[in-house]
Amino acid sequence: MSQKDKDINNETNEETTDASREEIESQNRRASDEQSTSRDSDGRDPYGNRGDERLHGSSEMSTHMNSDMPPGAGDHGGLDYKNLPKSTPGWKVLVQELIADKLALFSLIIFASITAYVFGLTMFLDQAEIVFVDLFAIHEPPNEEFRLGTDYGGRDIFGQLIIGTRNSLAIGFLVTLMSVGFGIVYGLISGYFGGQIDNALMRVVDFFLVLPFLMIVIVFVTIVPSYDIWTFSAIMAAFLWMGTARLIRSLALQETELDYINASKTLGTSNLKVIFSQLMPNLVGIIIVNGTLSLAANIGIESGLSFLGFGFPEDYPSLGTLLSYATQTQTLQNRWWVWLPAALMILVLMLCVRNIGEALRRAGDARQRQA
């Protein structure tokens, strides 16, 4: 079955589901459970198509929702085009939706405070002192001096937790920026040009998708000659961009069919300008959503790699480094303070970022909005 068959099938499915969803939603509008129809929130859709999350349709939809619409604006006879209320811009819808969703707002506040706290504190913390080996304070339980005890080298766990959180967040952002950025450009080009170019580019994506991600990354991390934060992020990003590329490509494919792109092309606008200053702004909502959900995943992947010992070096601790101490039986069994805080931190971070992403994703679907 070719890629096209899959897409066609997926689209027809979506049409039917959209119709039936409309019914559901009209029956219990503002149902207490907002995520009833979050079919592919887990991002496991193998085709990467999330056509039902079209954010770029938000402008026309919000026009319908504006209560201060002048009477009679709906019927086409005496339509006064000049005085039509301006539709809410896409990003504003996202912000409104985020504020309306209490869980997401709560998550955002927690996430922002953690980020601000760790980045603020690490500016004053002396990193060299924290990773300094103190053999007189090995494996101390939490006490006055060490708020969360010490590890096998007598290093302060609390300080490592703060630095580790910062490093994990930083690398998460970096990898997301790289992989999503590349995926966007790749997907836009593939979807915009279509035809043979699209076909060729998508075969490359198919190939990357069959690679065993974890193993390839571990091997590259081992054999790369100069190993630092940048190469580590680049290696991760090199095998993580495919999801974004497929998603953006399928949306760009639909969007390119629309009149405004055709009109712009007819007027002789260069392809580069059409893609990046006309097509891309219309996909910005879905890009934000995709980026947020990727960030959550990337934080998990990075700490997983560090946990296995293929991430950050030990004098540059990440949350995964702290967890990796737990592979020693003694530490796992008797010294919870070494690894449990890091485990909870990963959990809280990923939960918060996912909640924010999910709320943004719902905001993209006008039927599921709350604000």
């Binding site: 079955m1 019914e23 129809t37 887990d42 065993p212 091997v219 054999i223 946990f307 485990a343």
Partner: protein, 320 residues
């Protein structure tokens, strides 16, 4: 059906070739070759060089690649430098453990996940549904290895009810009842750690599938005809809601085979994932290479399997 399968098979062929080329080049980037393990001061450099020439290690890359592929088709996957045994022997000793772990996990995922998804879709917005949905939310945000560590800590160490490492107790006769029971006992914690996180996707897909199907015309008709609630859900709605889950079966199985790296590491379970990490740590790249090739091959087969299953459960795809 046959035509579809053949066409689908044709796509996998270039993928396999590309994968093998990539693995081959990664292998040549890695330090050491088949003779590194033999080098010692008593052997003159000329002798090593002669062996090198005889083994074809000085040939251009395309000839080496051809020889490598031909050797694999003849069942020769090279020698493990660390274990001093053929790579296939080393992998073979671990293969069954990983397969058992994956099969166990898949069974748990479907045995627990399908009822949860059905219940949560059937009683939408009830308290039970909120609990299940909350669980899927948590499950999506929890990395498997973190969950595995916590489970091991609580049930393996704190309560001490399950073994904490290995795949079988020591000193048991292979094939005896005790041996099998010990194997199962060692599987419980790892497979539940994988499954309880892995099943959230299944639950969520099934839930939205059920909610969606409830509103369809054919369900209304069945209801109007007086089909009983139970058989309405178990026969009519389930049949359609299961399609995406059936379609994921191939990916799910293969994903588990590959994704068990973390859990095997946490539980010191002697499977292929743990073998991969060990071989990287001991710089035994010939083993690591074959494992990558093997997992890549599995992923391709999994995608193929998924597409074929999808065409069976959803006839619409075949027609198109």
């Amino acid at each position: 059906m046959i035509k579809f399968t053949i066409r689908r098979l044709l796509i996998t062929f270039p993928q396999l070739v590309l994968l093998s080329v990539l693995v081959f080049f990664m292998g040549s980037l890695m330090p050491g070759d088949a003779l590194s393990g033999l080098i010692d001061p008593s052997i003159p450099a000329e002798a090593i060089e002669a062996r090198r020439e005889a083994l074809g290690l000085n040939n251009p890359w395309y000839i080496q690649y051809r020889d490598w592929v031909v050797a694999m088709f003849q069942g020769d996957f090279g020698q493990s430098i660390f274990h001093q045994r053929p790579v296939m022997d080393v992998i073979g000793s671990r293969l069954m453990n990983t397969i058992w772990l994956s099969v166990f996990s898949v069974i748990i995922i479907y045995v627990i996940g399908i009822p949860l998804g059905l219940i949560s879709g059937r009683y939408k917005d009830s308290l039970l549904d909120s609990v299940i949905t909350g669980y899927t939310y948590l499950g999506f945000a929890t990395p498997t290895f973190v969950f595995g560590l916590v489970v091991l800590w609580i049930f393996g160490y704190h309560f001490g009810v399950f073994p904490t490492n290995g795949s079988v107790g020591a000193g048991l006769e292979p094939g005896s009842v005790d041996y099998i029971l010990s194997k199962i006992n060692h599987l419980i914690l790892p497979s539940f750690s994988i499954a309880l996180i892995g099943l959230v996707g299944t639950v969520q897909y099934l839930r939205s599938g059920v909610i969606e199907a409830q509103q369809k015309d054919y369900v209304m008709l069945a209801r109007a005809k007086g089909v009983k609630q139970v058989s309405l859900y178990l026969k009519h709605i389930f049949r359609n809601a299961i399609i995406p889950i059936a379609a994921f079966f191939g990916y799910e199985l293969v994903g588990l085979l590959g994704g068990s790296i973390f859990i095997e590491w946490v539980y010191a379970y002697p499977g292929m994932g743990a073998l991969f990490l060990e071989s990287i740590e001991t710089r035994d790249f010939s083993v690591a290479n074959v494992l990558i090739l093997f997992y890549g091959f599995l992923t391709i087969v999994g995608a193929l399997l998924s597409d074929i299953i999808l065409s069976i459960v959803d006839p619409r795809i075949r027609i198109k």
